[in-house]
């Protein structure tokens, strides 16, 4: 950290921010994972959080997760809103007693000096209806701005977390905007370099924001999406059934919790797209959320019957 080149400084480089957080949490013993290779609405959906939060096995991981919220697209015209953005996710199970201090350490690592900045933990109870999950914690404020969410998971997929995991989620773009002192996401310096070597966030993502906004709000094939939702739901159920321990076998482990969960993730994203297209009525909305939750619960139950979920090999 000491002899890093200036363009790696998290205060001037978006990727420098990511790398600094990865390094910091690697030092705390986290497994540094890469993003999950599926479309998700938040870092929490990554099986490294959702499923690993269940069962007794200790687990420490950190990763960047590209997150898609089709409804939040603004055709690249709003300086603060994106339909695709990055979350930095940390999960520690069980949560260490000094998790707040570790979090403050990570802020220090990215250059937030607590002698200058007003850091506050403001009540924020987290709930994900689609994942059947909830926890208590805070929004972490830096000078009046929410820069992270801090949650002690109490329940995931309808199951009590025992032990409880601590989850930290950093909104990377917002944090970087503050560190770099820019007013628009698209003005973020991505690589920290200057002059013609400088690459901005806009150069990387503006076109994508415009195109995906068009897609999400206007063109996404709703008939196909409805079909994909049903297919994913059916596939999830099928893999869950197929992976059940066979009657009479000595092995009572579930064999396909992860592939089934992928389908749950897929169904959730299909729902988000349909929602953005405005083709799901208010009353239907609730029932779609419930359908995804049922899948998530069934996947959680299956996971608890796997090695990762704590069953002896």
């Amino acid at each position: 950290m000491t002899s890093e080149p200036a363009h790696m400084n998290p205060a001037r480089s978006f990727q420098g921010l990511i790398l600094t957080l990865q390094r910091y949490w690697a030092e705390q013993g986290c497994v540094i994972l890469q993003p999950y290779d599926m479309e998700v609405g938040a870092g929490t959906f990554h099986p490294a959080t959702t499923l690993r939060a269940l069962g007794p096995r200790p687990w420490r991981a950190a990763y960047v997760q590209p997150s898609r919220r089709p409804k939040d697209g603004r055709y690249g015209e709003n300086p603060n809103r994106l339909q695709h953005y990055y979350q930095f996710q940390v999960i520690l199970k069980p949560n260490p007693p000094n998790l707040q201090d570790l979090y403050l350490g990570s802020l220090k690592a990215i250059g937030i000096d607590t002698a200058l900045h007003d850091i506050r933990f403001v009540e924020d109870d987290w709930e994900s209806p689609t994942l059947g999950a909830w926890g208590l914690g805070w929004e972490c404020w830096c000078d009046g701005m929410e820069v992270s969410q801090f949650t002690y998971f109490q329940q995931v997929a309808g199951f009590e977390c025992s032990p409880v995991a601590g989850e930290l989620t950093y909104g990377l773009e917002r944090l970087a905007m503050y560190l770099q002192g820019v007013e628009s996401i698209y003005d973020l310096n991505f690589n920290g370099l200057d002059g013609d070597q400088k690459v901005t966030y806009g150069e990387v993502f503006l076109q994508a924001e415009q195109e995906y906004s068009r897609h999400n709000f206007e063109y996404a094939d709703t008939e196909m999406l409805f079909r994909h939702f049903r297919d994913a739901e059916a596939a999830c159920r099928k893999y869950l059934a197929d992976g059940e321990p066979k009657a009479g076998s000595n092995d009572n482990r579930h064999l396909m919790a992860l592939p089934a969960y992928d389908q749950c993730i897929k169904a959730s994203h299909m729902f988000n797209l349909l929602d953005a297209r405005g083709v799901i009525s208010v009353t239907e909305r609730q029932s779609y959320i419930l359908r995804v939750r049922e899948l998530a619960k069934a996947c959680g139950a299956a996971w608890l019957k796997t090695e990762g979920g704590g069953v002896a090999a």
Binding site: P97, V122, L136, D143, M145, V282
Partner: protein, 820 residues
């Protein structure tokens, strides 16, 4: 006497829970002590974001000794009895027992059992862990490695350490030793997270509070509030501005800091184009900052902020939280806002707060940019062009969309307009626009601005001032202390809104039960009551539906029924014809409801065209005929039943209201006991007149006379097994009666007639005056006349006279319900 110091140190406790938690801690610990016989001199509890603390002064060192004498067997009893006695009394040898004697029993053993009082620390170590484990947090959680096991400790956020010391001032207090789920007590706490990190050793409260203060922690919430308010006012004053005070926000921010540091930031003046309420709401809700105003100037804009109706997000009839806490009244917006705000940080920053202010200004800027964008965007679309969008907002699953609701309210408001003295066209227009702001960007972002934004947008698009006002005010009154609208257009729409809500939820049998009133129906009913009474409106709630002036409730019900059937969602009624009791309709005959009420029932174009058991036909426009089948669901079997139930709900709310106004509950009952009390205003007038009458000597004496008459009648009627409700025979009175009896009969006839006439012309004072003339003849009658005369005819007639007294009083109230 010694003191207890208890501190529970945790991660950040939600601001809204701190005060209550401190009070709970104090109550639980002191109650448990008192229950065990430990009295104390004083107790005070404190809360900061990271700790709950309790100081109990003047506790005894130990509990009271208890001495008990236990009688044993006679001296010389068998060994078995002696041993049993020793064991029971906890003695090791019979030498330890005393010997006493009495004449009957002779000599016998007595054991003196002395239980020394338990030491206070022991008792504390017993009660505190149980209190911590079962602490009544509104929401609590598990954490850490311990949470792998079932039954692990729950606290609002992870609990880190416990300080618990006990002892007198003169000595070093001792640590009260106990453990809660692996957390052992000690005498070490922590200072401010950033300003004074590190451990602090404490002895007792006297050094705990100052030590924390040196470590930048103010433990007393009220002191933090005072500091914030004082500094905020100072900062404002220095800039020639005035702080807009906000008690709710003050309480909250005081719960977010251990060491308040008040700073001032500013924003671009260009944002002041946005309505002041919006600026304030944005800055308050998102940033927890205070806004400032220029002293004295009056606002160019609307004066009062609108507040939520049914639900927090009001777009649906979702259950509302029990106590809506949006406390601002007046003040706000009454002067021009300044482009400054006050923030409360938790840090004495090394740069004097420059960075903190800069960061907050950034966020405020971003938020106000959003708000400005919403404001500018919203202004581009007329309110009436938004109505279509209301079709996608479900008000309640069984009661349809906001669009349908608006249709009903508009029709009802138009009907109500003449009754409340409003222009029907304006009332209908206002009702039609009343909910349109629900689909504006601004209200989408800040639901608490509903109504108010509608008023702004209505004014900007050039609506009549009464229409614009009604868009905001139709939600009012929101509670017992909220202002009641007086503009007749507002009154019409406000009544229509509430009546539609009440009738709708009654029709689907979603009434308040016990403490549960998720749709705030009691509030709606109280709203109707206050609107009616405070504006002196004559609204007959239960008149005959067949009357040409078919009134409110029936009308609203028809709208409701039409809607419900149209959606095929509800069928609470056997036959649609039941609403028109007293008239029969051939099962397949078409009829036009308009001919009954003289007004369109459902919107302008939709009418019922037919009915038969289990089926209703609806014509929409000129051609389409739809048929809906229905079946009986829910508790109610007829409209009449719903009507009766809703009316009795109104009666109950009115009683509550009148009682709160200080009226005697028995007088209210006395009036309600009369038939056909369905006009709120007349009920209240009658109760008032009755109260005044009973305060006079005539009133009190007449009541006494009434009771005497009623008592005699009750006894005699029971004895005879018959009633004497016929009119007295005046011939008998004249021929055989005494002079007092004759006088009474004459005055009675006159008083009854006058009282009835006065009631008819709604002159309740006059009716009471008429009755007061009965006093003297009634008194003389009882003085001089023996009711139980030997002549049976005379006796019967005298009883009828008594009955006539009872009847006469019934013209104004049922005197039997009057107490005292």
């Amino acid at each position: 006497m010694p003191d207890l110091l208890l501190e529970l140190f945790s991660e950040e406790i939600p601001a809204r829970m701190q005060r209550r938690a401190a009070e709970d801690l104090k109550k639980l610990v002191t109650d448990a002590l008192v229950e065990r016989g430990f009295l104390y001199e004083g107790a005070k509890a404190f809360a900061t974001p990271r700790r709950l603390a309790l100081h109990i002064a003047g506790l005894p060192v130990k509990g009271q000794d208890v001495r008990e004498e236990r009688k044993g067997p006679r001296v010389g009893s068998p060994e078995g009895a002696i041993q049993g006695f020793l064991k029971g009394a906890g003695l090791t040898s019979i030498e330890q027992a005393k010997i006493e004697s009495d004449p009957k029993k002779g000599e016998f053993y007595v054991a003196i059992i002395e239980k020394p009082g338990r030491s206070t620390p022991d008792v504390l170590a017993e009660i505190i862990p149980a209190i911590v484990k079962n602490f009544p947090w509104p929401k609590s959680m598990r954490w850490g490695a311990a949470s792998a096991e079932p039954g692990s400790l729950r606290w609002v956020r992870p609990l880190h350490s416990i300080v618990c010391t006990f002892g007198p001032e003169t000595e070093d207090p001792e640590i009260v030793r106990f453990e809660v789920d692996g957390i052992a007590t000690g005498d070490v706490t922590q200072g401010h997270r950033f300003l004074a990190p590190g451990e602090i050793r404490v002895k007792r409260f006297d050094d705990y509070a100052p030590a924390l203060e040196r470590a930048k922690v103010v433990i007393d919430t009220d002191r933090r509030k005072d500091m914030i308010l004082h500094d905020a006012k100072d900062l404002a004053f220095a800039q020639g501005l005035e702080l807009i005070e906000d008690e709710g926000l003050l309480e909250e921010v005081a719960g977010l800091v251990e060491w308040p540091v008040v700073l001032m930031g500013s924003f671009d003046e260009a944002f002041l184009d946005i309505p002041p309420e919006v600026i304030r709401t944005t800055i308050r809700a998102n940033q927890k900052c205070f806004v400032l105003k220029h002293p004295g100037n009056s606002s160019p804009l609307v004066g009062e902020a609108g507040r939520g109706v049914l639900a927090p997000s009001s777009e649906s009839a979702a259950p509302i939280p029990p106590s809506p806490t949006l406390p601002h009244k007046g003040g706000e917006g009454s002067s021009a806002l300044a482009n400054k705000f006050i923030l409360v940080s938790n840090l004495v920053a090394s740069d004097g707060g420059k960075t903190i202010v800069g960061g907050n200004e950034r966020v405020v800027r971003a938020r106000l940019s959003d708000a400005k964008f919403f404001w500018e965007t919203d202004k581009k679309v007329k309110l009436e062009d938004r109505l279509e969008k209301l079709k996608s907002i479900v008000f309640h699953e069984k009661l349809g969309t906001q669009y349908e609701r608006v249709e009903r309210i508009a029709a009802l408001a138009k009907e109500l307009a003449p009754i409340v003295g409003a222009d029907p066209a304006l009332a209908e227009r206002a009702a039609r626009l009343a909910k349109a702001d629900l689909v504006t960007e601004m209200v989408g972002e800040f639901p608490e601005l509903q109504g108010l934004m509608g008023r702004y947008y209505a004014s900007l698009q050039g609506e009549h001032a009464s229409v614009a006002a009604a868009v905001e005010e139709h939600y009012k009154p929101l509670g017992p202390s909220d202002r009641v609208p007086t503009d007749s257009v507002s009154v019409a729409v406000a009544l229509a809104d509430k009546i539609d809500t009440l009738v709708g939820f009654w029709a689907i049998d979603e009434k308040p039960t016990g403490s549960k009133d998720p749709y705030a129906l009691r509030r709606a009913a109280l709203g109707v009551i206050r609107l009616v009474l405070e504006n002196n409106i004559r609204l007959n709630f239960a008149s005959n539906p067949l009357r040409a002036d078919a009134t409110i409730l029936i009308f609203a019900r028809l709208l409701q029924v039409a809607h419900l059937y149209r959606n095929g969602q509800l069928a609470a009624f056997k036959r649609i014809g039941e609403q028109f009791e007293g008239r029969t309709f051939p099962a397949n005959d078409s009829f036009d409801v308009n001919t009954l009420t003289g007004t369109p029932v459902y919107g302008a174009e939709t009418i019922f065209v037919g009915h038969r058991a289990g089926e209703i036909k609806l014509r929409s426009g000129s051609l389409e005929i739809e048929t809906y089948n229905f079946e009986l669901v829910g508790r109610f079997s007829s409209l009449a039943e719903i009507q009766a139930d809703l009316l009795s709900f109104f009666a109950d709310r009115l009683k509550v209201y009148l009682r709160d106004q200080g009226a005697r509950h028995d007088l209210i009952d006395a009036v309600f006991a009369l038939e056909g009390q369905d006009d709120l205003l007349m009920i209240v007038r009658r109760v008032e007149a009755l109260g005044r009458f009973l305060d006079t000597e005539d009133g009190r004496n007449l009541l006494a006379g009434y009771r005497r008459a009623a008592n005699i009648l009750r006894i005699e009627e029971k004895k005879d097994g018959r009633s004497y409700s016929e009119a007295p025979d005046l011939q008998v009175v004249n021929d055989q009666g005494q002079i007092e009896e004759k006088a009474l009969a004459v005055v009675l006839a006159k008083a009854k007639e006058e009282a009835a006439a006065a009631v008819e012309s709604e002159d309740f004072e006059g009716a009471m005056r008429a009755l007061s003339r009965l006093r003297q003849p009634v008194d003389s009658f009882f003085d001089k006349v023996t009711v139980n005369a030997e002549d049976p005819a005379l006796r019967a007639n005298r009883l009828r006279l008594l009955n006539d007294i009872r009847e006469a009083t019934r013209t104004v109230a049922d005197f039997s319900r009057i107490e005292g």
